[in-house]
């Protein structure tokens, strides 16, 4: 079977800093990582490849340096990596991104074998939209199952997959036909550490690199800024409250400080006491 995992190289958000004066992102020196949510999808693809046989292809769209993440995915165990890179893709919103990725996925299917499951991350940690996976599924007419907590069976013979999907208030057990687009929930599996031979293979592996034309995209006005219906008009830091927090003086002991803080809370919002009493009395 052929599993394709769409990944994204993202800045390690834990290390992003905002310039205190200009309110702009300081990108210098921020390391990049594979979007953490994508790793659960990669792991699930590798598991099912190991179980039922086949290949795992990883795909990313980004600048040439995004090949770092592809190589990392190869060291974890993917068989093949495809980089979709072109200046026409710059400034893509989720609609334009799903357009370009769908074109590349079609091309991957034609070039390396029919795709059974496209895995995407649940969402990214930089954009947080959760829109690209559904966009790809819709454009390629794939069955769409998001927030999957477990895949119970992948049946290549009758072309079905049985899985568990997290929904509000419970879990749906679903069965659907392949090809499908699946996003995995965080914690749904434990991401493996690559083996030494995978690392050696990854170091030598050639990453397939396609520009828009090579991916079969003829109309580049559907890509990048021009292909994006949304326009970011303003990026800003939120304004601080008019007043900063009123600071309670630290007392001689933590106990004294605690009393002072509780008094300050009650002075600021006298009604809180009733609420706390209600909660304490178990209502």
């Amino acid at each position: 079977m052929h599993f394709v995992v769409c990944i994204k190289q993202v800045p390690d958000s834990a290390q992003i800093r905002v310039h205190p004066v200009t309110n702009t992102i300081m990108r210098q020196g921020v390391p990049t990582i594979i979007n953490p949510y994508d790793l659960f999808s990669l792991e699930e693809a590798l598991r099912w490849r190991d179980k039922v046989g086949g290949e795992v292809t990883v795909l990313t769209m980004g600048p040439p340096m995004a090949s770092d993440s592809l190589r990392k995915a190869l060291t974890i165990g993917a068989d093949r990596a495809v980089l979709l890179t072109d200046r026409f893709f710059a400034g893509s919103d989720t609609l334009a991104t799903s357009f370009a990725l769908s074109a590349a996925l079609k091309k991957i299917g034609e070039t390396f074998g029919k795709i059974d499951i496209v895995f995407c991350g649940k969402q990214t940690i930089d954009g947080d939209t959760a829109q690209v996976g559904p966009g790809v599924a819709k454009r390629l007419s794939l069955e769409q199952i998001t927030y999957v907590s477990a895949i119970n069976e992948v049946n290549g013979e009758d072309g079905t997959v049985t899985l568990e999907r997290r929904s509000e208030g419970g879990v749906q057990v679903l069965k659907t036909n392949l090809p499908a687009m699946i996003t995995m929930l965080e914690g749904s599996n434990t991401v493996r550490r690559g083996r030494i031979d995978d690392a050696l293979r990854a170091a030598r592996a050639e990453i397939v690199s396609w520009n828009a034309k090579e991916a079969g995209i003829e109309d580049v006005t559907m890509c990048g800024l021009r292909g994006s219906p949304t326009v970011v008009k303003k990026v800003f830091a939120p304004s601080p409250r008019a007043e900063k927090a009123a600071l309670v003086e630290v007392g001689a002991t933590p106990a004294a400080s605690a009393e002072a803080l509780i008094e300050a809370v009650l002075a600021k919002s006298p009604k809180i006491e009733d609420d706390l009493i209600k909660l304490a009395s178990g209502f």
């Binding site: 454009r139 879990v171 749906q172 949304t230 605690a258 009395s281």
Partner: protein
């Protein structure tokens, strides 16, 4: 290229140009809609929160506010409409079909796309829940329009376009996004990101049934079963009146117990900031902030949390924010109401004890009951 819709919009150059000249074919798009999310007969509260925002936008635009209610035929549909009217909708489009009994992407996205194409709203809002996110991305792709996820603020500009503000760059800044040349302008907001509007009992509205041709045999994905969560698995974090949370200032995973202890004494829910989940100290369903839960408690105590924007957007709806942090320049003091500059690890036990003393006369002896 699109399989979903053969004819892409006549894009031309500058599809996303900043010029606010709405193409002719979108000029008859009018009114503000909210997708009313219903699962197993219960309307998700985020739908009412969105109706509150939708009402504001509709009034500013001088148009109507509509809910879209879909599900299996039955009394739940009417009930969801009445609730939507009580929370501000002028009318509801209803789509009743047995295929819509439980959520699946295919029938829901077909139904919502069809009613949008028939009645042409200018704004369509959905909750950023598992259902809403699954649905919104599909519908926006089929309609080839813009969708802005997880908005923390929705407004209408002087020229009547939707200004959707959301966190960006991993929650370090905010940005305002427009869909200038396409309709509908779609946006999602997370539960509790918007205040719950006032419920007006008995407020009336019109019901407009809409028929969609859906048959079970055409739907590929089948629901084999549904396993409801046990109550003990649910956290009530988003709706709690008092919340205590801890951050990296706790210094070690063992100190998170100090947060739990204070929460227990207060009858509060406990939560944490993003790094604690990333480090594996606390399960992800306790995360508060942009990628976790949004809360609106009456009292929020943040212990050892620095207050990055991604955290701030999740707690700003709290009535009273109390910060405990050693760094007096930490951003949390920019939006907290009260603070004490001290070490949370040393301070929390004292605060827990002080609250215990104060509240002990009222604590019900649960063993006796």
């Amino acid at each position: 290229m699109s399989d979903a819709k053969p004819a892409a919009p006549a894009a031309g150059a500058g599809r996303a140009s900043m010029k606010k000249e709405l193409p002719e074919r979108f000029r008859n798009h009018k009114h503000v809609w909210v997708f009313i999310e219903m699962e197993r007969g219960v309307v998700h509260p985020v739908s009412f929160e969105l109706l509150g925002q939708g009402r504001k936008l509709a009034d500013k635009l001088g148009v109507e506010l509509a809910g879209v209610v879909m599900g299996a035929p039955g009394p739940d549909i009417l009930h969801a409409c009445q609730e939507s009217f009580a929370y501000g909708a002028d009318l509801c489009y209803t789509i009743e079909n047995p295929v819509l009994a439980d959520y699946r992407n295919e029938p829901y996205s077909k139904a919502l796309t069809a009613v949008v194409e028939a009645h042409k709203p200018e704004i369509l809002l959905l909750g950023a829940t598992t259902l809403g996110r699954d649905l919104a991305g599909s519908v926006a792709t089929t309609l080839l329009t813009g969708l802005t996820a997880d908005c923390t603020e929705l407004n209408v500009d002087d020229d009547k376009s939707l200004a959707a503000t959301r966190p960006t760059f991993g929650g370090s800044l905010l940005c305002t996004i427009y869909t200038l040349n396409f309709r509908p302008q779609m946006a999602t907001a997370r539960p509790r990101a918007m205040p719950m509007p006032e419920r007006k009992e008995g407020r009336e509205g019109r019901i407009v049934p809409f028929a969609v041709d859906l048959h079970e045999q055409d739907i590929i994905t089948k629901i084999l079963s549904f396993i409801p969560d046990r109550d003990s698995n649910k956290t009530n974090l988003a709706f709690a009146d008092v919340v205590v949370a801890g951050g990296m200032g706790l210094q070690g995973p063992e100190n998170f117990q100090l947060v739990k202890n204070l929460a227990a004494v207060l009858g509060a829910e406990y939560g944490c900031s993003r790094p604690l989940v990333q480090k594996g100290w606390v399960p992800s369903d306790r995360q508060i902030g942009q990628t976790g839960k949004t809360i609106r408690p009456k009292l929020y105590i943040a212990a050892g949390i620095s207050g990055a924007i991604q955290h701030r957007v999740g707690v700003e709806g709290a009535d009273l924010i109390v910060a405990i942090n050693t760094d007096k320049n930490a951003p949390i003091y920019d939006f907290a109401h009260l603070g004490i500059v001290t070490d949370a690890v040393r301070f929390l036990p004292a605060l827990t004890e002080a609250f215990r003393k104060r509240l002990s006369p009222h604590t019900r002896d649960r063993m006796a009951g």
